[in-house]
């Protein structure tokens, strides 16, 4: 589904990603872990198409197609979804109206008619129940005044609505208490299928107890320095990141 070859990316001439190779197949869950500043969020943003990042070298292929030149919205239309570490507050646009616009713009790009209003309402109801989101919450301005947990639940709610092929969860566990973590993870697990894939970016192992990865990669200084099974996450949790750094430097 996603194939990243030798990806180098920089922001304002500062190299952040220095040769990433990653392949994600349908049905897989990949975890990307690593210390602060290793480039995890940059990788997420580059895949999603944030313009301030410059791809210097390498390529990102989605289902065999190079997406380097595509705008963020075009990548979204092709099924890429990024759950933000820090969802942006947009006063004046309700969650519902935002979702309607996002879904219908995506449908338009795919040559489909707008989703009928009753179908939309039904979908909103189902997906908000999945994430245990109160109806009142949906008429509030997007992320404005939301708690950390509400913001993250709202991200996964959007993921549920948009049904992406590839979801990238960037530090979705940060700022979540244990109940919210369970709700979010449960939501992600229910959305998983043999046809879609998830990349979980996290600093800690605890989310991975709920969203169990098939592969764990360690990102350090802009490169994937170690890959392994879910046991690697436990090892990192127990031993920290220093031994990885030492291994790399050795």
């Amino acid at each position: 589904m996603l194939k990243i070859n030798n990806l180098h990316a920089s922001v304002e001439d500062k190299a952040i990603l220095k040769g990433i190779n990653l392949e994600v197949k349908p049905g897989e869950v990949h975890a990307i872990m690593g210390p602060n500043g290793s480039g995890k969020s940059t990788l997420a943003s580059v895949i999603a198409g944030k313009e301030e990042y410059e791809v210097e070298e390498g390529e990102i292929l989605l289902e065999g197609e190079n997406i380097d030149e595509l705008a963020a919205e075009e990548r979204a239309h092709k099924g890429i979804f990024l759950s933000f570490q820090y969802p942006v507050e947009i006063p004046g646009v309700s969650v519902t109206n935002f979702m309607k616009t996002a879904i219908n713009e995506t449908r338009k790009a795919q040559g489909l008619e707008d989703m009928p209003a009753n179908e939309m309402l039904k979908m909103i109801r189902e997906k908000s129940e999945l994430l245990e989101i109160d109806r009142k919450f949906l008429s509030r301005s997007l992320n404005e005044g939301f708690s950390g947990g509400e913001k993250k639940r709202n991200e996964i709610f959007q993921m549920a609505m948009l049904e992406p092929k590839l979801a990238i969860l960037d530090e979705t566990d940060s700022g979540l208490d244990i109940d919210a973590l369970r709700i979010v993870a449960n939501g992600v697990n229910k959305l998983k299928s043999k046809d879609n894939a998830v990349i979980v970016i996290t600093h800690y192992q605890r989310l991975l107890d709920y969203i169990v990865p098939d592969f764990v990669h360690v990102l350090h200084n802009g490169k994937i320095v170690k890959s392994g099974s879910k046991e690697l996450a436990h090892e990192l949790e127990a031993k920290g990141y220093d031994w990885i750094k030492e291994e790399v430097n050795a």
Partner: protein
């Protein structure tokens, strides 16, 4: 001949067309003298520092349009808020169009200034209210001198006028260049409530300059909701001077939606003559090209325990320029005043300009006054967030701009106006937002 000389010399001819026995004859005569002394404002005057009228004063305007023209409702329907039942006072090239209008004398007077100025039964109201609060500056004096036509609205006490009143001025382009001087008087007596919508619309690209003066009297506990829709062609300019005198416990709200025109200048003045008065002025300005919109507001807090709320949003693209000059004057006696003022702007291009100048003069010591103005660009992180959800760049911009101006629409009480404004904004931004705000 310069426009000023032309106007002054036309005054004699104008006098021949109106009733010199009218109580306003002396007022007009004095006003033309004022105009002759003052002339048109220039950038040397502080209040006009950022707005030059030179480019609109150069035309050879017809000041007395000769042609009579009729318009079919179907051709101009789109300029009305046509999906509600309303009273209508419609003018074509400054002349009343009975065909397009729907006036009334049934318990309230919704009719013509020309009738009010000439018929004895209105004499008392004219004597008590006409030209009592309009300022004596050059432009207002010019309007007063030529005041002959416009809307006359008198709501006696205890009337809740359910149907909004629409005042529309069309210019047809029958004159190569046209200058209009509409004069409106709105008197709302105790406990009454009225809603008014005003629009000036040019139907061709021939230059039009409208110098409008409106006096509004909100008496005790009256409620006045006034909506100005300014979405004219880029060859039409508007100088709107509106003066509102409020008595105790009255509520007056003016929403100004400025989406088009060459030069638009809004002089909006509130005078609070009583306690527990509420004055609200809100505006959304969205312009591009070389358009220019100038909001010049004044709230004069004269007595204690009153409130004022100002909220103006501006979005400026291309080489457009905006001005916000908001003055809040709190007299020594006006204790417990609560005055709020906000002016937020987004510049979409490097060549767009906004000059914003809050001006607070406070002589009382127990007041709550706040003001804030911001100038910025669209938030890039918000743009990326929306685009990452599949909303294309143009629509994302539109959505953010909608969101930016949204809270100004919250206080619009007529849903049809809200819908219309939403649609005009969507059209203006070139986006199709899939919902109404």
């Amino acid at each position: 001949m310069e426009l000023k000389e032309k106007l002054v010399s036309s005054f004699m001819a104008f006098e021949d067309t109106v009733d010199v026995d009218s109580p306003v004859h002396d007022i007009r005569t004095e006003a033309i003298k004022h105009f002759e002394n003052e002339g048109f404002p220039t950038k040397r005057q502080e209040a006009w520092k950022y707005t030059s009228l030179n480019s609109v004063l150069k035309h050879d305007y017809s000041v007395f349009p000769k042609h009579e023209d009729a318009l079919e409702f179907k051709d101009v329907k789109k300029y009305f808020i046509h999906d509600i039942d309303s009273y209508k006072i419609v003018f074509i090239d400054g002349k009343y169009s009975s065909h397009l209008s729907q006036t009334t004398h049934d318990g309230i007077d919704v009719c013509l200034m020309s009738a009010a100025l000439s018929k004895p039964k209105y004499r008392l109201v004219i004597e008590n209210y006409f030209n009592k609060i309009a300022s004596k500056d050059g432009l207002s004096s010019l309007n007063t001198a030529f005041s002959a036509e416009g809307a006359y609205i008198h709501i006696p006490k205890n009337k809740l006028v359910e149907k909004p009143i629409q005042i529309l001025h069309f210019s047809t382009g029958n004159e190569a260049a046209l200058m209009l001087q509409p004069r409106n008087l709105v008197v709302v007596d105790e406990n009454s409530h009225v809603q008014i919508i005003e629009r000036h619309q040019s139907l061709t690209d021939n230059p039009v300059l409208t110098n409008s003066v409106t006096e509004i009297f909100a008496n005790k506990r009256a409620i006045v909701d006034y909506y100005k829709i300014q979405n004219d062609r880029e060859t039409a300019s508007l100088i709107d001077s509106t003066f509102i005198n409020q008595k105790q416990e009255s509520i007056a709200k003016v929403h100004t939606f400025s989406f088009g025109g060459k030069i638009i200048r809004n002089n909006l003045n509130f005078y609070q003559n009583g306690e527990r008065i509420d004055s609200t002025m809100k505006g959304i300005t969205i312009i591009g090209n070389k358009q220019h919109v100038d909001h010049n507001t004044l709230v004069h807090h004269i007595e204690p325990n009153c409130e004022s709320h100002q909220d103006y949003k501006g979005i400026f693209g291309d080489s457009a320029t905006g001005v916000f000059n908001g003055k809040v004057l709190v007299e020594k006696e006006a204790q417990k005043t609560d005055a709020f003022q906000a002016n937020n702007n987004i510049l979409l291009s490097d060549k767009a300009t906004i000059n914003t100048k809050p001006q607070l003069e406070i002589f009382a010591d127990d007041v709550k006054c706040s003001h804030g103005c911001t100038i910025g660009q669209l938030d890039e992180s918000a743009m990326f967030y929306l685009r990452s959800r599949g909303i294309p760049e143009k629509e994302a911009r539109g959505l953010l701009m909608f969101a930016f101006s949204n809270n100004v629409l919250d206080s619009v009480k007529i849903p049809e106006i809200k819908n219309r404004i939403t649609k005009i904004i969507a059209n203006k931004l070139g986006v199709n937002i899939g919902f109404d705000l």
